[in-house]
């Protein structure tokens, strides 16, 4: 195969050589025969007779050079290319269709690949598994993202050597990081000592973390930095090893730089620095001895032994897991839980999932939207293929004479079909090439929809081999698919009819084209309905809003605890800054909250309520600590009861909250119509929980985690929380941008080393929290617009072809007295039939697919009648207007001329 292919490129030389070789043979033979006494003429005749036909030999040798079909194919491609160049408008339309289809598919696939499919660049990622437990095991407190386990579990699992080569754990956390100068927020990954070794990640410089680094607590102040961090923040300094990093005010020594390709195990969160778990006390303020506590704060991943399947390990580990549950229960520090919780706890089991792509919260958020978009692009690509098919069929009928002639000269139908395939492959590959060239631009635009920090760190818009292979595969498939209809059509062509009709064609071509247009309309309808659903969702969420004021609002977050502040000192600092902001001329009103709103996360816990009887909420309640000014600042109404006191109510030295304000949903779900005011609650679910917090007020519902959030909430006074970590909400005078400077200055004044994080307007925070919805609505909207254009073009093509074909018939009808409206109706009826049939096919498909996207929708059903009516109207209008032009042309047919033309 390879030599044959290379022969393609040295045709000319081969031909010249063969020619010389054969001429030498003939000349020698002639002169030999002359020597035997023949005349020159006889000798010539004799020699060429012996050799046989020159052309035949040349042909046979050419067959050796390139196998037969390859040669034919090369001819076909050249023939296709030549005829394409003669019809530029056809070629451009077809190539642009393919370019759009393939380019968009490739761009979305790039994200699908990066976020969902790409295995980590580590040793044998296929053997990595994520360890978690089923519901019920989580009795201990936790903090962090998903799949949380404790360090002791990780440590014990690491000893299960019959299943695992080893088990490691990691937790992501934000830290204040200084390399000597200013402090900046950075992402750190806290890891067990075997992390790098088990992943098989090598250092680019120095060494990676080892088991020794995770030895005695607080004894190994070391860190490994990422390659990116080394290059960008440290300028790639050669003497980086041994330098000091200040992480949350604690010095750590850089012992190594990780390999260039390794960016942690979370595709959405790229750490700047890796820190051994032995140093977690320093890195995570407010906790101590995390390595010995049942607190759930890490993701646990294991590397299975060679030959051990996930299933075997999962089954084999259950006895160990159950024994551990029993053991834990008998330990002193085990939380008091209800009998039901105990049941659930003992019934929980260990859960392993394959994790070749690591663990990622971004993936969790994007998995469905990305597949939805990928499916949409596939539909769009299908539409593009159908469009090209339709164009080819139209061109095929224009080329009828040529094809009829070729058939008459003895070309086989297979041979002609192959010609059509070469045509469509050439178009698809050209379109695919252009599409792949444009894909990086599209990917960059796509990444802009994602959270900014993710986009900058984690995802790239480059084209790699995987992507090129994908684009090539898609192009070839699209080429073959779009060539099928024309090839099939040519196979059915009757030689006699195509020669009989002058410039005409069998009507089957039209029927096939109508089928194609109908399919296009069905596909377009699914896209338009999908897009309308996502637009409605976004619109509904925006209209609903978060339930609090966002205009002129600015927020930012401080984490004093990461700068070494104790709770008391930190809360004093926050109060000082709060004071300064309230007294600043830029401020209308301002407030402080312990946990930021609309970031996806929350402080949550079950609540114990002491009324006539003691009950525990059946699900976690979202909690927050706020200053009394919060409600006025945010425009949240207090519906009953009162606001928090301006001053700390509890006697000094006493800990804990004294009062709470709950929201309407809380009252509705848990209190069953009872008067909430005066009821006492406690945070937590065990029998030991003290219910000494009095409900003093009820507030209106508003969004906490995100705009879809309609959760039960209970807020407590920030002043009683005594924390140095807080988010400020400031309603400013003038433009928010001008306030940024003042706010930074106020914080700088209070502590110049304290970084101001997430300083932005609340409007921006709202739109950030709607990233996914924005992406779905915009992209699906764009896709359905493209789909509309493609199918309108298809419909227009068929209808104008039909009118051309039926000019004579229309002429006769008009001559016999039919009026022009009947001619128009004749065309429009055809179009209407196709549109209705397309809609008829599309609706059940939509009904079926709609159920798959329910979780992405808000305030609209997947088979919403209004939405479907709107989409159908849009499609119908677009389709009919495409048919109006040919219909108008039909009504303008001049009977005399149309008859004379025949």
């Amino acid at each position: 195969m390879i030599p044959q292919l290379t022969n393609c490129f040295r045709r000319r030389k081969l031909e010249g050589d063969l020619d010389r070789e054969l001429r030498y043979h003939l000349d020698r033979r002639v002169s030999d025969l002359e020597r035997l006494g023949l005349t020159m003429e006889d000798a010539r005749r004799q020699a060429s007779l012996e050799l046989g036909g020159m052309t035949q030999i040349q042909e046979e040798v050419r067959d050796v050079w390139l196998t037969r079909w390859l040669r034919d194919f090369a001819y076909d491609i050249r023939f296709s290319a030549r005829s394409f160049l003669r019809t530029p408008s056809f070629t451009i339309t077809a190539v642009v269709s393919m370019m759009l289809g393939i380019g968009v598919t490739t761009a979305i696939y790039s994200l699908v690949d990066q976020v969902l499919l790409h295995a980590l660049p580590v040793r044998e990622p296929g053997r990595l598994v994520l360890v978690d437990a089923t519901q019920g095991e989580q009795v201990a407190d936790g903090f962090g993202g998903w799949n949380l386990m404790s360090y002791p579990i990780c440590h014990d699992l690491d000893a299960q050597k019959q299943f695992f080569e080893g088990v490691f754990c990691r937790a992501l956390t934000d830290v204040n990081l200084s390399t000597g100068g200013d402090y900046h927020p950075a992402t750190a990954e806290i890891v067990s000592g075997n992390y790098f070794n088990l992943l098989g990640v090598q250092p680019a410089l120095g060494r990676v973390l080892t088991q020794q680094d995770d030895g005695a607590a607080n004894a190994n102040p070391v860190a490994v930095i990422s390659y990116d961090f080394w290059k960008t923040r440290l300028g790639g300094a050669a003497d980086v090893l041994g330098r000091k990093l200040i992480v949350n005010m604690h010095p750590l020594v850089v012992v190594g730089v990780a390999a260039l390709t390794f960016r942690g195990i979370d595709v959405g969160e790229v750490p700047s620095v890796w820190i051994p778990a032995s140093m977690s006390d320093q890195v995570i303020p407010g906790y101590s001895d995390l390595r010995d506590s049942p607190t759930r704060w890490m993701q646990v991943l294991g590397r299975l032994n060679e030959g051990v399947t996930l299933k075997q390990a999962q089954v084999g580990l259950q006895p160990w897991f159950k024994a551990m549950l029993q053991r834990n229960m008998n330990e002193a520090g085990f939380p008091k839980i209800t009998p039901e919780e105990m049941q659930e706890y003992l019934h929980s089991s260990l859960l392993l999932t394959a994790a070749p792509q690591g663990h990622s919260s971004l993936r969790r958020i994007l998995v469905q939207p990305l597949w939805v978009l990928f499916a949409a692009t596939m539909v769009l690509l299908g539409l593009a293929c159908l469009n090209v098919s339709g164009l080819f069929l139209a061109r095929g009928s224009a080329r009828d004479r040529e094809i009829g002639t070729r058939l008459a000269l003895g070309a086989s139908r297979g041979r002609l079909g192959r010609q059509f395939l070469a045509d469509s492959l050439l178009i698809a590959l050209t379109g695919g090439f252009l599409g792949a060239a444009l894909a990086p631009l599209a990917v960059r635009a796509l990444i802009a929809f994602l959270p900014k920090n993710t986009a900058e760190n984690a995802l790239h818009a480059g084209v790699d081999t995987r992507l090129l292979l994908f684009a090539f595969g898609v192009s070839v498939t699209a080429g073959v698919l779009s060539g099928l209809a024309p090839a099939w059509q040519s196979g059915r062509r009757s030689l006699v009819s195509s020669l009989q009709q002058r410039g005409g064609t069998a009507f089957g071509g039209v029927r096939l084209r109508k089928v194609i247009v109908t399919a296009q309309i069905a596909l377009t309808l699914t896209l338009v309905v999908g897009a309308t659903l996502f637009v409605r969702t976004l619109d509904a969420l925006m209209t609903k809003g978060p339930g609090f004021v966002t205009s002129s609002m600015v927020s930012f977050t401080l984490a004093a605890s990461r700068n070494g502040y104790s709770n008391t000192d930190g809360s004093r600092l926050i109060r000082r800054i709060d004071e300064a902001i309230r007294n600043s001329p830029i401020t209308q009103v301002s407030a402080v909250a312990g946990v930021p709103l609309l970031t996806g996360g929350s402080w949550n816990n079950p609540i114990t309520i002491q009324g006539d009887m003691r009950i525990t909420t059946d699900r976690a309640v979202n909690l927050n600590a706020v200053t009394p000014g919060f409600f006025r600042t945010m425009g949240i109404r207090i519906l009953a009861g009162r606001n928090f006191d301006e001053r700390v109510a509890r006697p000094s030295g006493e800990m804990g909250f004294r009062s709470a304000i709950v929201n309407e949903s809380f009252v509705k779900r848990f209190l069953d119509g009872r008067n909430p005011l005066g009821l006492r609650i406690g945070v937590g679910s065990g029998p030991d929980v003290k219910t000494d917090i009095e409900i003093v007020g009820v507030m209106s519902d508003f969004s906490y985690r995100g705009l879809r959030d309609e959760s039960e909430q209970a807020f407590v006074p920030f002043l009683e929380a005594g924390s140095g970590d807080a988010t400020f909400y400031v309603r400013v005078r003038g433009t928010p941008e001008s306030a940024f400077q003042t706010l930074r200055a106020i914080v700088h004044n209070a502590d110049p080393t304290l970084p101001v994080m997430d300083l932005r307007t609340l409007d921006e925070q709202v739109s950030r929290s709607l990233n996914t919805e924005h992406m779905l609505a915009t992209l699906s909207g764009g896709f359905s617009l493209m789909a509309l254009v493609l199918s309108v073009v298809g419909l227009y093509g068929v209808m104008s072809f039909v009118v051309t074909r039926r000019t004579r018939e229309i002429g006769i009808r008009l001559a016999l007295g039919a009026d022009r409206w009947s001619a128009i109706w004749m065309v429009l009826r055809d179009a209407l039939l196709m549109i209705l049939a397309g809609i008829g096919i599309g609706l059940p498909v939509i009904w079926f697919l709609g159920r798959l996207i329910v979780s992405q929708l808000y305030d609209v059903k997947p088979f919403d009648l209004t939405v479907i009516t709107i989409a159908t109207l849009v499609l119908g209008t677009a389709g009919l207007s495409a048919a109006v032009v040919p219909a108008h042309r039909a009504s303008g047919v001049n009977p005399t001329e149309s008859l004379r033309a025949e």
């Binding site: 030599p3 044959q4 050589d17 063969l18 010389r20 070789e21 054969l22 030498y24 043979h25 000349d27 020698r28 033979r29 012996e50 050799l51 046989g52 036909g53 035949q56 030999i57 046979e60 040798v61 067959d63 050796v64 050079w65």
Partner: protein, 111 residues
């Protein structure tokens, strides 16, 4: 063409070419001449099929070709045997011998 010469059996042309070239490098015309000569004019080679066969063998890397001056002083394309070609020749000779023996055996059995 005198009809007393029988046409060359299918598939043996390649082997004969390899055999001829194994003695010394030769050009197409030379090979054709030697084919006639060696077989004492009993085997009739359709000269037309010689060149496709030569190019096929060259493509399989059993023959190597180069242009050089021939005995008449003109440039001709000379074919010579490669190491792979030499191995192939041994294989073909061997299987030919076995085929011939087998045929012989069958004939003797018949007597």
């Amino acid at each position: 063409m005198p009809s007393s010469r029988f046409p060359i059996p299918q598939g043996t042309l390649d082997m004969l070419i390899l055999q001829i070239v194994s003695l010394e490098p030769a050009h197409g015309y030379g090979i054709a001449q030697r084919l006639e000569h060696i077989s004492r004019s009993v085997v009739q080679v359709n000269q037309g099929s010689l060149y496709p066969a030569l190019h096929r063998l060259e493509q399989k890397k059993w023959l190597r070709a180069e242009w050089r001056e021939s005995e008449t002083g003109r440039e001709a394309k000379f074919y010579s045997l490669t190491a792979a070609g030499r191995k192939q020749l041994v294989v073909e000779k061997d299987s030919w011998a076995r085929l011939a023996d087998a045929v012989q055996l069958i004939f003797e059995e018949g007597n």
